[in-house]
Protein backbone atom coordinates (compact mmCIF):
# COMPACT_ATOMS: atom_id res chain seq x y z
CA UNK A 1 0.00 0.00 0.00
CA UNK A 2 1.38 3.39 -0.95
CA UNK A 3 1.71 6.04 1.74
CA UNK A 4 -1.06 8.12 0.18
CA UNK A 5 -3.49 5.23 0.67
CA UNK A 6 -2.89 4.98 4.42
CA UNK A 7 -5.65 6.21 6.73
CA UNK A 8 -3.55 8.98 8.26
CA UNK A 9 -2.53 10.38 4.89
CA UNK A 10 -6.06 10.11 3.51
CA UNK A 11 -7.37 12.12 6.46
CA UNK A 12 -4.65 14.73 5.99
CA UNK A 13 -5.41 14.88 2.26
CA UNK A 14 -9.03 15.82 3.05
CA UNK A 15 -8.36 18.34 5.85
CA UNK A 16 -9.33 21.31 3.71
CA UNK A 17 -12.74 19.93 2.80
CA UNK A 18 -13.45 18.82 6.37
CA UNK A 19 -12.20 22.10 7.77
CA UNK A 20 -14.56 24.12 5.57
CA UNK A 21 -17.53 22.11 6.87
CA UNK A 22 -16.31 22.42 10.47
CA UNK A 23 -15.82 26.17 10.00
CA UNK A 24 -19.33 26.62 8.67
CA UNK A 25 -20.83 24.76 11.62
CA UNK A 26 -18.60 26.42 14.24
CA UNK A 27 -19.30 29.87 12.85
CA UNK A 28 -23.02 29.26 13.36
CA UNK A 29 -22.33 28.57 17.03
CA UNK A 30 -20.21 31.69 17.43
CA UNK A 31 -16.61 30.71 16.61
CA UNK A 32 -14.46 33.65 15.59
CA UNK A 33 -11.92 33.19 12.82
CA UNK A 34 -8.76 35.12 12.01
CA UNK A 35 -7.04 34.48 8.68
CA UNK A 36 -3.28 34.78 8.24
CA UNK A 37 -0.94 34.89 5.24
CA UNK A 38 2.47 34.77 6.75
CA UNK A 39 4.79 33.07 9.21
CA UNK A 40 5.10 36.39 11.09
CA UNK A 41 1.46 36.23 12.25
CA UNK A 42 1.52 35.27 15.94
CA UNK A 43 -1.12 32.52 15.92
CA UNK A 44 -0.78 32.11 19.70
CA UNK A 45 -2.59 35.41 20.29
CA UNK A 46 -5.44 34.38 17.99
CA UNK A 47 -5.79 30.97 19.64
CA UNK A 48 -5.60 32.61 23.09
CA UNK A 49 -8.52 34.80 22.01
CA UNK A 50 -10.55 31.60 21.61
CA UNK A 51 -10.56 32.08 17.85
CA UNK A 52 -9.38 29.84 15.03
CA UNK A 53 -6.23 30.90 13.15
CA UNK A 54 -6.35 29.64 9.56
CA UNK A 55 -4.04 30.03 6.60
CA UNK A 56 -5.56 31.86 3.65
CA UNK A 57 -5.32 30.76 0.01
CA UNK A 58 -2.52 32.16 -2.13
CA UNK A 59 -0.85 29.27 -3.94
CA UNK A 60 -2.98 28.95 -7.07
CA UNK A 61 -2.62 30.46 -10.53
CA UNK A 62 -6.42 30.52 -11.02
CA UNK A 63 -7.31 33.93 -9.48
CA UNK A 64 -4.19 35.74 -10.78
CA UNK A 65 -5.83 37.17 -13.94
CA UNK A 66 -8.51 38.75 -11.73
CA UNK A 67 -5.82 40.26 -9.49
CA UNK A 68 -3.99 41.66 -12.50
CA UNK A 69 -6.93 43.95 -13.20
CA UNK A 70 -5.66 45.94 -10.23
CA UNK A 71 -2.15 44.79 -9.37
CA UNK A 72 0.87 45.11 -11.69
CA UNK A 73 1.58 42.01 -13.76
CA UNK A 74 5.24 41.88 -12.74
CA UNK A 75 4.37 41.53 -9.06
CA UNK A 76 5.13 38.28 -7.25
CA UNK A 77 2.52 35.54 -7.93
CA UNK A 78 2.00 34.88 -4.21
CA UNK A 79 0.75 38.43 -3.67
CA UNK A 80 -1.35 38.40 -6.84
CA UNK A 81 -2.86 35.02 -5.99
CA UNK A 82 -3.70 36.07 -2.41
CA UNK A 83 -5.38 39.26 -3.60
CA UNK A 84 -7.06 37.42 -6.50
CA UNK A 85 -8.70 34.97 -4.10
CA UNK A 86 -10.07 37.92 -2.14
CA UNK A 87 -11.51 39.86 -5.10
CA UNK A 88 -13.06 36.74 -6.61
CA UNK A 89 -14.23 35.54 -3.16
CA UNK A 90 -13.10 32.00 -3.94
CA UNK A 91 -11.16 31.16 -0.76
CA UNK A 92 -13.59 29.60 1.76
CA UNK A 93 -11.22 30.40 4.64
CA UNK A 94 -11.16 34.07 3.72
CA UNK A 95 -14.92 33.97 3.38
CA UNK A 96 -15.31 32.71 6.95
CA UNK A 97 -12.65 34.99 8.43
CA UNK A 98 -13.86 37.77 10.72
CA UNK A 99 -10.50 39.46 10.67
CA UNK A 100 -7.32 39.23 8.60
CA UNK A 101 -3.99 39.57 10.39
CA UNK A 102 -1.22 40.86 8.11
CA UNK A 103 2.28 42.29 8.44
CA UNK A 104 4.47 44.82 6.63
CA UNK A 105 6.94 42.25 5.30
CA UNK A 106 7.86 43.17 1.71
CA UNK A 107 6.81 46.25 -0.26
CA UNK A 108 4.48 44.27 -2.51
CA UNK A 109 2.58 42.72 0.38
CA UNK A 110 2.15 45.85 2.44
CA UNK A 111 0.77 47.85 -0.48
CA UNK A 112 -1.50 44.95 -1.49
CA UNK A 113 -2.83 44.86 2.10
CA UNK A 114 -3.94 48.48 1.72
CA UNK A 115 -6.23 47.28 -1.09
CA UNK A 116 -7.25 44.10 0.71
CA UNK A 117 -8.24 46.16 3.74
CA UNK A 118 -10.99 47.70 1.60
CA UNK A 119 -12.51 44.25 1.04
CA UNK A 120 -12.14 42.68 4.50
CA UNK A 121 -11.45 43.92 8.05
CA UNK A 122 -7.65 43.74 8.23
CA UNK A 123 -5.25 44.37 11.09
CA UNK A 124 -1.82 45.37 9.84
CA UNK A 125 1.16 44.81 12.10
CA UNK A 126 4.22 47.00 11.55
CA UNK A 127 6.97 44.39 11.33
CA UNK A 128 10.49 45.67 11.99
CA UNK A 129 12.99 44.70 9.28
CA UNK A 130 15.90 44.05 11.60
CA UNK A 131 16.30 41.62 14.47
CA UNK A 132 17.73 43.57 17.43
CA UNK A 133 16.64 44.87 20.85
CA UNK A 134 15.10 48.10 19.53
CA UNK A 135 13.16 46.12 16.97
CA UNK A 136 11.99 43.70 19.64
CA UNK A 137 10.68 46.57 21.79
CA UNK A 138 8.60 47.95 18.94
CA UNK A 139 7.45 44.46 17.93
CA UNK A 140 6.23 43.83 21.49
CA UNK A 141 4.15 47.00 21.17
CA UNK A 142 2.76 45.72 17.87
CA UNK A 143 1.79 42.45 19.55
CA UNK A 144 0.01 44.42 22.28
CA UNK A 145 -1.82 46.35 19.58
CA UNK A 146 -2.90 43.07 17.95
CA UNK A 147 -3.96 41.71 21.35
CA UNK A 148 -6.18 44.76 21.90
CA UNK A 149 -7.65 44.48 18.41
CA UNK A 150 -8.46 40.81 18.92
CA UNK A 151 -9.96 41.47 22.36
CA UNK A 152 -12.07 44.28 20.98
CA UNK A 153 -13.18 42.50 17.79
CA UNK A 154 -13.93 39.17 19.44
CA UNK A 155 -15.18 40.53 22.81
CA UNK A 156 -12.76 38.51 24.91
CA UNK A 157 -9.88 39.04 27.28
CA UNK A 158 -6.56 37.43 26.41
CA UNK A 159 -5.14 36.58 29.83
CA UNK A 160 -1.54 35.47 30.40
CA UNK A 161 -2.89 32.07 31.34
CA UNK A 162 -4.78 31.67 28.07
CA UNK A 163 -1.74 32.84 26.15
CA UNK A 164 0.44 30.28 27.96
CA UNK A 165 -2.07 27.54 27.08
CA UNK A 166 -1.98 28.61 23.43
CA UNK A 167 1.83 28.62 23.45
CA UNK A 168 1.89 25.06 24.83
CA UNK A 169 -0.65 23.86 22.26
CA UNK A 170 1.16 25.39 19.29
CA UNK A 171 4.53 24.18 20.56
CA UNK A 172 3.06 20.70 20.74
CA UNK A 173 1.92 21.04 17.14
CA UNK A 174 5.47 22.13 16.20
CA UNK A 175 6.91 19.13 18.05
CA UNK A 176 4.62 16.84 16.07
CA UNK A 177 5.42 18.50 12.74
CA UNK A 178 9.16 18.44 13.48
CA UNK A 179 9.12 14.72 14.17
CA UNK A 180 7.35 14.18 10.87
CA UNK A 181 9.73 16.40 8.88
CA UNK A 182 12.73 14.83 10.58
CA UNK A 183 11.81 11.46 9.06
CA UNK A 184 13.39 12.88 5.90
CA UNK A 185 16.78 12.72 7.63
CA UNK A 186 16.72 9.01 6.83
CA UNK A 187 18.47 7.90 3.66
CA UNK A 188 16.43 7.17 1.65
CA UNK A 189 13.58 9.27 3.00
CA UNK A 190 10.38 7.24 3.59
CA UNK A 191 8.22 10.15 2.36
CA UNK A 192 8.41 12.12 -0.87
CA UNK A 193 8.67 15.89 -0.97
CA UNK A 194 5.25 16.14 -2.63
CA UNK A 195 3.66 14.03 0.10
CA UNK A 196 5.32 16.10 2.79
CA UNK A 197 4.20 19.28 1.05
CA UNK A 198 0.59 18.01 1.10
CA UNK A 199 0.88 17.64 4.89
CA UNK A 200 2.50 21.06 5.36
CA UNK A 201 -0.08 22.74 3.15
CA UNK A 202 -3.23 21.07 4.44
CA UNK A 203 -2.52 21.20 8.17
CA UNK A 204 -2.40 25.00 7.92
CA UNK A 205 -6.12 25.01 7.13
CA UNK A 206 -7.17 22.82 10.05
CA UNK A 207 -9.03 24.68 12.79
CA UNK A 208 -8.56 21.72 15.14
CA UNK A 209 -4.93 21.79 16.26
CA UNK A 210 -5.26 18.61 18.31
CA UNK A 211 -6.55 16.79 15.25
CA UNK A 212 -3.48 18.02 13.36
CA UNK A 213 -1.19 16.71 16.09
CA UNK A 214 -2.91 13.31 16.21
CA UNK A 215 -2.84 12.91 12.42
CA UNK A 216 0.79 13.91 12.07
CA UNK A 217 1.87 11.63 14.94
CA UNK A 218 -0.03 8.80 13.30
CA UNK A 219 1.68 9.48 9.97
CA UNK A 220 5.10 9.64 11.62
CA UNK A 221 4.48 6.27 13.28
CA UNK A 222 3.55 4.85 9.87
CA UNK A 223 6.74 6.31 8.37
CA UNK A 224 8.82 4.73 11.13
CA UNK A 225 7.28 1.35 10.31
CA UNK A 226 7.99 1.85 6.62
CA UNK A 227 11.56 2.95 7.22
CA UNK A 228 12.16 -0.09 9.42
CA UNK A 229 10.78 -2.30 6.65
CA UNK A 230 12.96 -0.54 4.07
CA UNK A 231 9.99 0.98 2.20
CA UNK A 232 10.70 4.26 0.41
CA UNK A 233 9.78 5.93 -2.88
CA UNK A 234 13.54 6.46 -3.35
CA UNK A 235 16.85 4.58 -3.22
CA UNK A 236 20.13 5.28 -1.41
CA UNK A 237 21.44 6.75 -4.67
CA UNK A 238 18.57 9.23 -5.21
CA UNK A 239 19.97 12.80 -5.14
CA UNK A 240 18.74 14.62 -2.02
CA UNK A 241 17.63 18.22 -2.52
CA UNK A 242 16.99 20.96 0.03
CA UNK A 243 14.44 23.47 -1.24
CA UNK A 244 15.10 26.97 0.08
CA UNK A 245 13.53 30.32 -0.75
CA UNK A 246 9.94 31.41 -1.12
CA UNK A 247 6.88 29.73 0.42
CA UNK A 248 5.32 26.91 -1.59
CA UNK A 249 2.02 25.10 -1.32
CA UNK A 250 -0.25 22.85 -3.32
CA UNK A 251 -0.83 24.72 -6.59
CA UNK A 252 2.58 26.42 -6.50
CA UNK A 253 4.38 23.10 -6.24
CA UNK A 254 5.66 22.70 -9.80
CA UNK A 255 9.34 22.81 -8.87
CA UNK A 256 8.91 20.16 -6.15
CA UNK A 257 7.00 17.99 -8.64
CA UNK A 258 9.62 18.44 -11.36
CA UNK A 259 12.54 17.63 -9.03
CA UNK A 260 10.88 14.36 -8.07
CA UNK A 261 9.69 13.52 -11.60
CA UNK A 262 13.25 14.03 -12.82
CA UNK A 263 14.59 11.57 -10.25
CA UNK A 264 15.41 13.63 -7.15
CA UNK A 265 14.11 13.57 -3.58
CA UNK A 266 13.14 16.81 -1.84
CA UNK A 267 14.17 16.05 1.74
CA UNK A 268 13.62 19.44 3.25
CA UNK A 269 11.78 22.73 2.88
CA UNK A 270 13.87 25.56 4.27
CA UNK A 271 11.13 28.11 3.87
CA UNK A 272 8.33 29.62 5.93
CA UNK A 273 5.93 26.89 4.82
CA UNK A 274 8.47 24.30 6.02
CA UNK A 275 11.22 24.14 8.59
CA UNK A 276 10.98 27.81 9.62
CA UNK A 277 7.62 26.94 11.21
CA UNK A 278 9.25 24.71 13.79
CA UNK A 279 11.01 27.26 16.00
CA UNK A 280 9.19 26.94 19.36
CA UNK A 281 8.07 29.76 21.68
CA UNK A 282 9.91 29.86 25.02
CA UNK A 283 7.44 28.59 27.64
CA UNK A 284 9.20 30.37 30.53
CA UNK A 285 9.00 34.10 31.29
CA UNK A 286 6.51 36.68 30.07
CA UNK A 287 4.37 34.94 27.42
CA UNK A 288 3.83 38.01 25.23
CA UNK A 289 7.55 38.78 25.16
CA UNK A 290 8.32 35.14 24.41
CA UNK A 291 5.89 35.17 21.47
CA UNK A 292 7.41 38.44 20.21
CA UNK A 293 10.94 37.04 20.42
CA UNK A 294 9.99 33.87 18.54
CA UNK A 295 8.22 35.63 15.66
CA UNK A 296 10.85 38.33 15.21
CA UNK A 297 13.43 35.52 14.83
CA UNK A 298 11.79 34.19 11.62
CA UNK A 299 14.64 34.37 9.08
CA UNK A 300 12.78 35.83 6.09
CA UNK A 301 14.59 37.74 3.33
CA UNK A 302 12.57 40.86 4.26
CA UNK A 303 14.94 41.12 7.26
CA UNK A 304 18.20 42.99 6.73
CA UNK A 305 20.59 41.47 7.53
CA UNK A 306 19.15 37.95 7.57
CA UNK A 307 21.84 35.69 9.08
CA UNK A 308 19.34 33.17 10.49
CA UNK A 309 18.52 31.82 7.04
CA UNK A 310 22.14 30.97 6.30
CA UNK A 311 22.50 29.22 9.66
CA UNK A 312 19.32 27.22 9.03
CA UNK A 313 20.42 26.20 5.52
CA UNK A 314 23.77 25.05 6.90
CA UNK A 315 22.10 23.03 9.65
CA UNK A 316 19.62 21.37 7.28
CA UNK A 317 22.29 20.57 4.65
CA UNK A 318 24.29 18.74 7.30
CA UNK A 319 21.47 17.09 9.24
CA UNK A 320 19.48 15.95 6.20
CA UNK A 321 22.49 14.68 4.20
CA UNK A 322 21.66 17.13 1.41
CA UNK A 323 23.45 16.76 -1.95
CA UNK A 324 22.41 20.11 -3.41
CA UNK A 325 20.35 23.23 -2.67
CA UNK A 326 17.65 24.67 -4.94
CA UNK A 327 16.68 28.25 -4.15
CA UNK A 328 13.19 28.89 -5.48
CA UNK A 329 12.40 32.57 -5.95
CA UNK A 330 9.15 33.96 -7.33
CA UNK A 331 9.37 36.49 -10.13
CA UNK A 332 9.08 39.96 -8.67
CA UNK A 333 10.18 38.86 -5.18
CA UNK A 334 13.08 41.29 -4.86
CA UNK A 335 14.22 40.29 -1.39
CA UNK A 336 14.58 36.56 -2.11
CA UNK A 337 15.93 37.16 -5.63
CA UNK A 338 18.66 39.47 -4.34
CA UNK A 339 19.48 37.29 -1.35
CA UNK A 340 19.97 34.34 -3.72
CA UNK A 341 23.35 35.69 -4.79
CA UNK A 342 24.76 35.61 -1.25
CA UNK A 343 23.15 32.24 -0.57
CA UNK A 344 24.74 30.79 -3.72
CA UNK A 345 28.20 31.89 -2.59
CA UNK A 346 27.54 30.52 0.90
CA UNK A 347 26.30 27.13 -0.31
CA UNK A 348 29.01 26.66 -2.95
CA UNK A 349 31.95 27.96 -0.94
CA UNK A 350 31.12 27.26 2.72
CA UNK A 351 29.01 24.14 2.34
CA UNK A 352 30.66 22.79 -0.85
CA UNK A 353 27.32 21.84 -2.35
CA UNK A 354 25.98 22.57 -5.84
CA UNK A 355 23.37 25.34 -5.92
CA UNK A 356 20.62 26.18 -8.40
CA UNK A 357 18.43 29.26 -8.33
CA UNK A 358 15.09 28.96 -10.08
CA UNK A 359 13.12 32.12 -10.73
CA UNK A 360 9.60 31.41 -11.91
CA UNK A 361 5.92 32.03 -11.24
CA UNK A 362 2.83 29.86 -10.77
CA UNK A 363 2.14 29.30 -14.49
CA UNK A 364 3.08 26.13 -16.36
CA UNK A 365 4.54 28.00 -19.35
CA UNK A 366 8.20 27.34 -18.50
CA UNK A 367 7.92 23.67 -17.51
CA UNK A 368 10.21 22.39 -20.29
CA UNK A 369 12.88 25.03 -19.62
CA UNK A 370 12.76 24.25 -15.89
CA UNK A 371 13.08 20.55 -16.64
CA UNK A 372 16.40 21.09 -18.44
CA UNK A 373 17.79 23.08 -15.51
CA UNK A 374 16.55 20.63 -12.91
CA UNK A 375 17.68 17.53 -14.82
CA UNK A 376 21.12 19.07 -15.40
CA UNK A 377 21.34 19.93 -11.70
CA UNK A 378 20.41 16.38 -10.72
CA UNK A 379 23.06 15.10 -13.16
CA UNK A 380 25.60 17.10 -11.16
CA UNK A 381 24.25 15.73 -7.86
CA UNK A 382 24.18 12.12 -9.08
CA UNK A 383 27.95 12.09 -9.58
CA UNK A 384 29.93 10.60 -6.71
CA UNK A 385 31.37 13.45 -4.66
Amino acid sequence: MSLTQTEAFQRIATIRERSVIALKESKETGLKVAGTYCQYSPAELIVAAGAAAVSLCGTSQTPIPAAEKVLPRNLCPLIKSSYGFAVTDTCPFLYFADLLVAETTCDGKKKMYELLGQIKPLHLMQLPQVQNETALDSWILELKRLKERLEESFGVEITSERLRDAIRLLNEERRSLKELMDMCRLKPSPISGMELLTVLHNTGFNIDRRDNIALMDQLTAELRRRAAAGISPFTEATPRVLLSGVPVGIGSDKVVKLVEECGGSVVGFENCTGYKKLDPVDEAGDPLVAVAERYLRVPCSCMSPNPGRFELVKRLVEEFQVDGVIDLTWQGCHTFNIESHALKQFVQEQLSRPFLQIETDYSESDTEQLKVRIEAFLEILARPR
Binding site: Q348, P354, S365, D366, Q369, V372, R373, E375, A376, E379
Partner: protein, 252 residues
Protein backbone atom coordinates in the same frame (compact mmCIF):
# COMPACT_ATOMS: atom_id res chain seq x y z
CA UNK B 1 32.24 0.11 -29.03
CA UNK B 2 30.34 2.20 -31.54
CA UNK B 3 28.19 4.83 -29.84
CA UNK B 4 25.85 7.50 -31.14
CA UNK B 5 24.83 10.88 -29.77
CA UNK B 6 21.78 12.69 -31.10
CA UNK B 7 21.20 16.32 -30.17
CA UNK B 8 17.65 17.39 -31.02
CA UNK B 9 17.74 21.15 -30.86
CA UNK B 10 14.85 23.51 -31.56
CA UNK B 11 16.36 24.47 -34.93
CA UNK B 12 18.70 21.66 -36.00
CA UNK B 13 19.11 17.99 -35.12
CA UNK B 14 22.67 16.70 -35.02
CA UNK B 15 23.96 13.10 -34.89
CA UNK B 16 27.49 11.90 -34.24
CA UNK B 17 28.73 8.31 -34.64
CA UNK B 18 31.74 7.71 -32.39
CA UNK B 19 34.18 4.83 -32.23
CA UNK B 20 37.41 6.07 -30.70
CA UNK B 21 36.98 9.08 -33.00
CA UNK B 22 34.16 10.67 -34.95
CA UNK B 23 33.22 8.19 -37.72
CA UNK B 24 30.18 9.93 -39.09
CA UNK B 25 27.88 12.85 -38.47
CA UNK B 26 24.85 14.56 -39.89
CA UNK B 27 22.69 17.59 -39.36
CA UNK B 28 19.07 18.01 -40.45
CA UNK B 29 16.52 20.74 -39.72
CA UNK B 30 14.37 19.72 -36.73
CA UNK B 31 11.22 21.09 -38.35
CA UNK B 32 7.93 20.23 -36.77
CA UNK B 33 8.66 16.53 -36.26
CA UNK B 34 11.63 16.02 -33.91
CA UNK B 35 11.32 12.21 -34.00
CA UNK B 36 11.64 12.10 -37.78
CA UNK B 37 14.55 14.54 -37.68
CA UNK B 38 16.37 12.37 -35.14
CA UNK B 39 15.86 9.19 -37.15
CA UNK B 40 16.92 10.88 -40.35
CA UNK B 41 20.07 12.37 -38.75
CA UNK B 42 20.87 8.92 -37.32
CA UNK B 43 20.49 7.25 -40.75
CA UNK B 44 22.65 9.87 -42.47
CA UNK B 45 25.39 9.70 -39.85
CA UNK B 46 25.49 5.88 -39.89
CA UNK B 47 25.61 5.91 -43.68
CA UNK B 48 28.54 8.31 -43.63
CA UNK B 49 30.30 6.12 -41.07
CA UNK B 50 29.52 2.95 -43.04
CA UNK B 51 28.13 1.35 -39.90
CA UNK B 52 24.91 -0.63 -39.62
CA UNK B 53 22.42 0.24 -36.89
CA UNK B 54 22.85 -3.21 -35.38
CA UNK B 55 26.52 -2.50 -34.63
CA UNK B 56 25.68 0.49 -32.42
CA UNK B 57 26.27 -0.27 -28.74
CA UNK B 58 24.53 2.72 -27.20
CA UNK B 59 22.58 5.85 -28.13
CA UNK B 60 22.22 8.91 -25.93
CA UNK B 61 19.68 11.60 -26.76
CA UNK B 62 19.99 15.23 -25.74
CA UNK B 63 18.53 18.62 -26.60
CA UNK B 64 14.97 19.78 -26.05
CA UNK B 65 13.62 16.88 -28.15
CA UNK B 66 15.35 14.24 -26.00
CA UNK B 67 12.06 13.12 -24.51
CA UNK B 68 10.56 11.90 -27.71
CA UNK B 69 12.46 8.81 -28.85
CA UNK B 70 12.33 5.16 -27.81
CA UNK B 71 15.67 4.38 -29.53
CA UNK B 72 17.59 6.24 -26.81
CA UNK B 73 19.27 4.12 -24.16
CA UNK B 74 19.61 7.21 -22.01
CA UNK B 75 18.67 10.84 -22.07
CA UNK B 76 21.10 13.43 -20.77
CA UNK B 77 20.65 17.19 -20.71
CA UNK B 78 22.46 19.39 -23.20
CA UNK B 79 24.28 21.05 -20.28
CA UNK B 80 26.14 17.86 -19.40
CA UNK B 81 26.61 16.89 -23.08
CA UNK B 82 28.05 20.24 -24.18
CA UNK B 83 30.45 20.19 -21.24
CA UNK B 84 31.56 16.65 -22.05
CA UNK B 85 32.01 17.37 -25.75
CA UNK B 86 33.88 20.64 -25.18
CA UNK B 87 36.17 19.03 -22.61
CA UNK B 88 36.91 16.17 -25.00
CA UNK B 89 37.84 18.54 -27.83
CA UNK B 90 39.75 20.93 -25.59
CA UNK B 91 40.70 19.46 -22.19
CA UNK B 92 41.70 22.92 -20.90
CA UNK B 93 38.05 24.05 -21.12
CA UNK B 94 36.74 25.48 -17.82
CA UNK B 95 33.85 27.47 -19.28
CA UNK B 96 31.45 26.65 -22.10
CA UNK B 97 29.27 29.25 -23.76
CA UNK B 98 26.54 27.79 -25.94
CA UNK B 99 24.08 29.79 -27.98
CA UNK B 100 21.34 27.48 -29.08
CA UNK B 101 18.19 28.06 -31.06
CA UNK B 102 15.92 28.67 -28.07
CA UNK B 103 18.26 29.19 -25.15
CA UNK B 104 21.77 30.23 -24.35
CA UNK B 105 23.85 28.96 -21.48
CA UNK B 106 27.14 29.43 -19.69
CA UNK B 107 28.57 26.28 -18.07
CA UNK B 108 31.40 26.11 -15.52
CA UNK B 109 33.59 22.97 -15.54
CA UNK B 110 35.86 21.72 -12.78
CA UNK B 111 39.41 20.47 -13.37
CA UNK B 112 38.12 17.03 -14.29
CA UNK B 113 35.79 18.46 -16.92
CA UNK B 114 32.66 17.89 -14.81
CA UNK B 115 29.88 20.51 -14.66
CA UNK B 116 30.13 22.46 -11.43
CA UNK B 117 27.63 25.24 -12.19
CA UNK B 118 25.58 26.58 -15.08
CA UNK B 119 23.27 29.42 -15.93
CA UNK B 120 20.63 29.61 -18.65
CA UNK B 121 18.76 32.58 -20.05
CA UNK B 122 15.20 33.31 -19.02
CA UNK B 123 12.35 31.71 -20.82
CA UNK B 124 12.24 34.24 -23.69
CA UNK B 125 14.17 34.43 -26.96
CA UNK B 126 16.49 37.27 -25.89
CA UNK B 127 20.09 36.29 -26.53
CA UNK B 128 19.34 33.13 -28.48
CA UNK B 129 19.90 31.91 -31.99
CA UNK B 130 16.22 32.56 -32.64
CA UNK B 131 16.75 36.26 -31.89
CA UNK B 132 19.50 36.40 -34.49
CA UNK B 133 17.40 34.53 -37.04
CA UNK B 134 14.44 36.86 -36.61
CA UNK B 135 16.59 39.98 -36.83
CA UNK B 136 18.48 38.66 -39.87
CA UNK B 137 15.08 38.05 -41.42
CA UNK B 138 14.04 41.68 -40.87
CA UNK B 139 17.16 42.78 -42.75
CA UNK B 140 16.50 40.11 -45.41
CA UNK B 141 19.86 38.48 -44.70
CA UNK B 142 21.11 35.03 -43.75
CA UNK B 143 23.01 34.59 -40.48
CA UNK B 144 26.32 34.58 -42.37
CA UNK B 145 25.23 37.63 -44.31
CA UNK B 146 24.39 39.41 -41.06
CA UNK B 147 27.95 38.76 -39.83
CA UNK B 148 29.69 40.06 -42.95
CA UNK B 149 27.35 43.05 -43.07
CA UNK B 150 28.21 43.97 -39.50
CA UNK B 151 31.97 43.73 -39.99
CA UNK B 152 33.62 47.09 -39.37
CA UNK B 153 30.36 49.02 -38.96
CA UNK B 154 29.68 51.29 -35.97
CA UNK B 155 26.93 49.44 -34.05
CA UNK B 156 23.69 51.31 -33.46
CA UNK B 157 22.51 50.92 -29.89
CA UNK B 158 19.35 48.78 -29.67
CA UNK B 159 17.56 49.10 -26.36
CA UNK B 160 15.37 46.03 -26.80
CA UNK B 161 16.63 42.55 -25.97
CA UNK B 162 13.18 41.11 -26.57
CA UNK B 163 12.85 39.57 -30.04
CA UNK B 164 9.46 41.15 -30.62
CA UNK B 165 10.32 44.66 -29.41
CA UNK B 166 13.74 44.62 -31.13
CA UNK B 167 12.03 43.81 -34.41
CA UNK B 168 9.79 46.88 -34.13
CA UNK B 169 12.78 48.95 -33.06
CA UNK B 170 14.74 47.87 -36.15
CA UNK B 171 11.83 48.56 -38.46
CA UNK B 172 11.69 52.04 -36.94
CA UNK B 173 15.42 52.58 -37.49
CA UNK B 174 15.18 51.40 -41.09
CA UNK B 175 12.33 53.85 -41.65
CA UNK B 176 14.59 56.62 -40.35
CA UNK B 177 17.08 55.62 -43.03
CA UNK B 178 19.79 54.20 -40.79
CA UNK B 179 22.40 52.07 -42.57
CA UNK B 180 21.73 48.35 -42.64
CA UNK B 181 25.36 47.71 -41.67
CA UNK B 182 25.07 49.68 -38.43
CA UNK B 183 21.84 47.88 -37.54
CA UNK B 184 23.48 44.50 -38.24
CA UNK B 185 26.35 45.44 -35.95
CA UNK B 186 23.81 46.58 -33.34
CA UNK B 187 22.05 43.20 -33.47
CA UNK B 188 25.31 41.34 -32.78
CA UNK B 189 26.03 43.78 -29.98
CA UNK B 190 22.68 43.00 -28.38
CA UNK B 191 23.43 39.26 -28.37
CA UNK B 192 26.86 39.87 -26.91
CA UNK B 193 25.42 42.06 -24.12
CA UNK B 194 22.90 39.38 -23.28
CA UNK B 195 25.61 36.69 -23.09
CA UNK B 196 27.70 39.10 -21.03
CA UNK B 197 24.80 39.47 -18.61
CA UNK B 198 24.52 35.71 -18.25
CA UNK B 199 28.26 35.19 -17.95
CA UNK B 200 28.45 37.78 -15.19
CA UNK B 201 26.71 35.32 -12.89
CA UNK B 202 29.43 32.70 -13.27
CA UNK B 203 33.19 33.13 -12.89
CA UNK B 204 34.59 32.90 -16.43
CA UNK B 205 37.73 30.80 -16.26
CA UNK B 206 40.06 30.05 -19.19
CA UNK B 207 39.75 28.29 -21.52
CA UNK B 208 36.35 29.53 -22.65
CA UNK B 209 34.96 27.29 -25.38
CA UNK B 210 32.14 28.61 -27.58
CA UNK B 211 29.77 25.92 -28.89
CA UNK B 212 26.53 25.72 -30.85
CA UNK B 213 25.79 26.60 -34.47
CA UNK B 214 26.03 30.33 -33.79
CA UNK B 215 29.77 29.92 -33.08
CA UNK B 216 30.21 29.20 -36.82
CA UNK B 217 29.79 32.92 -37.38
CA UNK B 218 33.18 34.67 -36.97
CA UNK B 219 31.60 38.12 -36.56
CA UNK B 220 29.54 36.94 -33.59
CA UNK B 221 32.58 35.26 -32.03
CA UNK B 222 34.54 38.52 -32.31
CA UNK B 223 31.80 40.64 -30.74
CA UNK B 224 31.20 38.23 -27.85
CA UNK B 225 34.93 37.87 -27.14
CA UNK B 226 35.29 41.66 -27.12
CA UNK B 227 32.36 42.12 -24.71
CA UNK B 228 33.52 39.40 -22.33
CA UNK B 229 37.15 40.44 -22.55
CA UNK B 230 38.28 36.85 -23.03
CA UNK B 231 39.75 34.77 -25.82
CA UNK B 232 37.14 32.37 -27.18
CA UNK B 233 38.14 28.92 -28.26
CA UNK B 234 35.87 27.80 -31.08
CA UNK B 235 36.21 24.12 -31.87
CA UNK B 236 35.97 22.88 -35.42
CA UNK B 237 32.27 22.27 -36.14
CA UNK B 238 30.92 23.82 -32.93
CA UNK B 239 27.40 22.75 -33.88
CA UNK B 240 28.22 19.08 -33.15
CA UNK B 241 29.69 19.50 -29.66
CA UNK B 242 26.48 18.52 -27.85
CA UNK B 243 25.94 15.42 -30.02
CA UNK B 244 29.59 14.46 -29.58
CA UNK B 245 29.23 14.77 -25.81
CA UNK B 246 26.14 12.56 -25.96
CA UNK B 247 28.04 9.94 -28.01
CA UNK B 248 30.92 10.01 -25.48
CA UNK B 249 28.48 9.49 -22.60
CA UNK B 250 26.88 6.63 -24.53
CA UNK B 251 30.33 5.00 -24.77
CA UNK B 252 30.90 5.14 -20.98
Amino acid sequence: MVSVGIDIGSTATKAVVFDGGVRGRAVVPTGWEPREAALSALRDALLQAGIAEGQVGGIVGTGYGRISLPIFDRRVTEITCHARGAHHLCPATRTVIDIGGQDSKVIALDEGGMVSDFIMNDKCAAGTGRFLQVMAGVLDETLDGLGSLAAGAEPVSLSSMCAVFAESEIIGLLAKGLEKERIAAGILDTIARRVQGLAGRIALRDTVTFTGGTANNPAICRVIAAHLGVKLHVPEDPQFVGALGAALIAAD
